[in-house]
Symmetry: C2
Subunit: 144 residues, 2 copies
């Protein structure tokens, strides 16, 4: 299952893209519009900022903003920050590899083989989707 953290995070990022002014977007505005508990959202945006996806400005008229063009922000990065490894098992993770304690031989493990395929198919989606793609509205989508 996708965690609420990730779901909220993706919605928040999309909202920021679509609030396209030069001013930072406030947590309260996002929370209200996307129906997200504000305090929870605060912690999520903080995570995204620490990961370098978002920048922030403190104090009055502060808020969050993107640090790159949305077309340059890949879902691989966003998903890893919010949801953790893309692989479903550590033994097929590119960025967080760990050997299974129970598995004698990775090369003959049936789970390993299957999970590599699942990982690659997910990677294929995330590598080819940017935040800009997510933020495209439906009408724009149709026009394309």
């Amino acid at each position: 299952m996708l965690s609420k953290k990730t779901k909220y995070g993706l919605k928040a990022l999309t909202f920021i893209v679509n609030s396209a002014g030069d001013n930072p977007v406030q947590v309260s505005a996002i929370a209200k519009n996307e129906q997200i508990p504000q305090k929870f959202l605060e912690s999520i945006l903080l995570t995204l900022r620490k990961a370098g996806v978002l920048g922030s400005k403190k104090g009055k008229h502060g808020g969050y903003y993107l640090r790159q063009d949305p077309a340059d922000i890949l879902m691989t990065e966003v998903m890893r920050v919010l949801e953790g490894p893309i692989a479903m098992v550590p033994c097929v993770s590119l960025n967080y590899y760990e050997k299974c304690d129970d598995c004698v031989d990775e090369d003959t493990c049936s789970v390993h083989k299957l999970m590599i395929q699942v990982r690659d198919s997910a990677l294929n989606v995330f590598r080819n989707t940017t935040l800009a793609d997510l933020a495209v509205k439906k009408t724009e989508n149709i026009v394309k």
Copy 2:
């Protein structure tokens, strides 16, 4: 993350395929060879039996066996039984659809769009992989 339940279940099914005799395979044998807690494994195999993937024979010389040719058992079925819905969010699930309470319009939801792609890519793997594929050993794999 893949649950241990699913991991153990996949390993157990593979083990049964590779124990290819006509006799049912005992839980104790699987548990021992695959390093799975026996009581936990019992409950997993019971689930697979109730779902129709495995058959069982009680009493002395009893055990579990496949009800179909491994080449006819798709990962879509196995994964749904063990891990639950393939979709990461209920609102894109083919078999367990549920509307999000927070989401106003599915058609414009950025999460929805992305998760449909992820679901389809996973389905593509699971629909094209059978238990027989999982159970192929490495050497056989190379020979192909």
